[in-house]
Symmetry: C2
Subunit: 419 residues, 2 copies
Amino acid sequence: MAPSPGTACIISTGEEVLRGELVDGNSAELARRLEEAGFQVQLMFTAGDRRADLRFVIETGLARADWVFMTGGLGPTEDDLTSAVVAECFGVALVFHPPSWAHIEARFREFGIPITGNNRKQALFPAGAQVLENPHGTAPGFHATRTAVGRTQHVVALPGPPREMVPMLDALLADLPGARRPQHSFMRFFGIGESSLAEVLRPWADASGVALGYRALFPEIEVKLYDASAAQTASLRAFVLEKLADCLLDFRSRATPELLAEYLAGSGLTVGLAESCTGGLAGKLITDQPGASAYFRGAVVSYHNDIKRDVLGVPQALIEAHGAVSEPVARAMAEGACTRLGADVALAVTGIAGPEGGSAAKPVGTVWLAKADAAGTQARCERFVRGREWVRIFAAYRGLRWLMEDWLRERWQAAVKGP
Amino acid sequence: MAPSPGTACIISTGEEVLRGELVDGNSAELARRLEEAGFQVQLMFTAGDRRADLRFVIETGLARADWVFMTGGLGPTEDDLTSAVVAECFGVALVFHPPSWAHIEARFREFGIPITGNNRKQALFPAGAQVLENPHGTAPGFHATRTAVGRTQHVVALPGPPREMVPMLDALLADLPGARRPQHSFMRFFGIGESSLAEVLRPWADASGVALGYRALFPEIEVKLYDASAAQTASLRAFVLEKLADCLLDFRSRATPELLAEYLAGSGLTVGLAESCTGGLAGKLITDQPGASAYFRGAVVSYHNDIKRDVLGVPQALIEAHGAVSEPVARAMAEGACTRLGADVALAVTGIAGPEGGSAAKPVGTVWLAKADAAGTQARCERFVRGREWVRIFAAYRGLRWLMEDWLRERWQAAVKGP
């Protein structure tokens, strides 16, 4: 086992969290990073802005672990008590820190906001504490230590906003003696459940001894290879290409819309959509990415069959003979989108999202996809489960992945072969 | 002040939470409901599956409050320790509860899953505890009490999955002597920030003595009137109609897409969209609602100007003279959508979502909306802030609200006048 920097407790502060108005995402973010760095997280606490409660959780945390990491309570208002209570616990005074005050003044000047006397409070720290710079906000953090019954106890106070908290923590951990700097690698999958994925990968994990972590990034799954060597990473990549190529997205952890943006921007191709059951979701996902106008022509959301006929040019007879959710209609939608939108390639999605509209032959969740370009048209049928929301999301993601599938396969092969 | 059922601490259990793999949403949900019922929540704890830690947080919670509410740890596996540790704390045995076992067996039969010996564990409870039925899952909960130093201490153990936890908690609170059954009323706003909204409402709140709670349901805001009388609710409604009609959605807490679905389903009107910068998002929001096919014809996502011209019939000269983000083009898009999609009413959205594409005259965030029907076409210009994601979301929501604005105003008037 790698050496550990110690045990830790996490304290989040804030009346909003205690009243349930805000879900505490900070503690999870902190815990993940601390575990990565080798800490053993023991307990988490949430306290409001009562001085006695804050003091109680700090003392309790220090009694149960070497380190206490706190978030929040560094602001300028009266209920921001972190510095004062830590100083109280440690039996030290609060000391004014001129460089922090200069930083705070500069931030206010930069944003053209008048500074108040209250803000001076944000430059007060427990005597002896190391001040942690905050390049992303006004409130600096601090790292205070004391020696009690022969061991060193640490309190690290971080700001509440995640975009300030995370970089400050990362900077602290980067310099911390004993902290692990893990070299993880990642993969991203789509179209397989977490438990099925874990089952397929278990034999490899057992044989290699590499720990794998799973994280649901709905509708995708991220797999983390903890501290895998280059050889181990290469071995799992080969294993995945053999067993899971249909569900693999990338050997990094990037989402379908981002990957598609990279593919399309690099390909010089333009794309168009004919959406029925997804109702605009596929277009929304493509245009979430900045710069989409370089390759996205547009979409026809042909929710009503008249639109399939009038705007996309799908023959009425085809709809009547096969139904709107069918291979011939999907193909005609894709071809119509290609022509009418002037796109190099077009994707069509037509399916039964539910809750109504299913039948024995075409149950809710049946989706036909088609892809058309100058070389011809392909179609595929999918069955998605778990109701309207899932069917729509999976149909859109499946279609977007399909658009770049050849490109993905080339990337994987290149990654396996190495440079 | 209403009587309070007491003080409470919340404990969530689970290694996934402690390792940061899962964000703890349960504690917030619990806290909100407990505060509503009149409890004062003191502290929250998270513990993993170490017996000593669990015991420590239970004892600590009971030392700091009258009630400890726990979630999780009621499953069949070895690391599900809640019942065993509570029994240990209370110095009582675990007792087998035949009705719970019958319930568990019935659930497994219903789903056709073979039951294992491990599941028997889920029918074991601390002696003397009241078993809480779980109509939504296998694991029953329990409510255990003891008298210590002259006061009654309560431990309530609830299942981890929210859809099991919430109904069990609600059933418990409904029967609990001393718990408040608050009669809140709600309002929903869109298009104003939380702090601005609070500022406008403050004079009314100060004068009436009614506490108002704000909850961000992005991009909307819910306002809760705590225990307001019918007269107080009516008074705030009148105040809001006078001061905030442009930002009001409804005198209940319903989201824009839901309200629009009710409006369109009831109106007999069909709707079509011409989307540019929103890229399909408005159509996605409309079709998120089941039954949208009754009134949604479809959309043309005319991301490229060619599509505005070729599919929507916007004159090229108009685009060249005024630019794609302009009143004339928005109007022509809406009229084109109305005709080409065969809709009774059509909404057009064209704007600069960013990060590129802005200018001094039309900065990023400029959005033109137009609405066309048989009676004519209207247009309006908006400026949204905070970058691409916000601009797109606010543009779509603003447009959808506009579609039903007359209907909304009639509802508000009816609600103010009363039956």
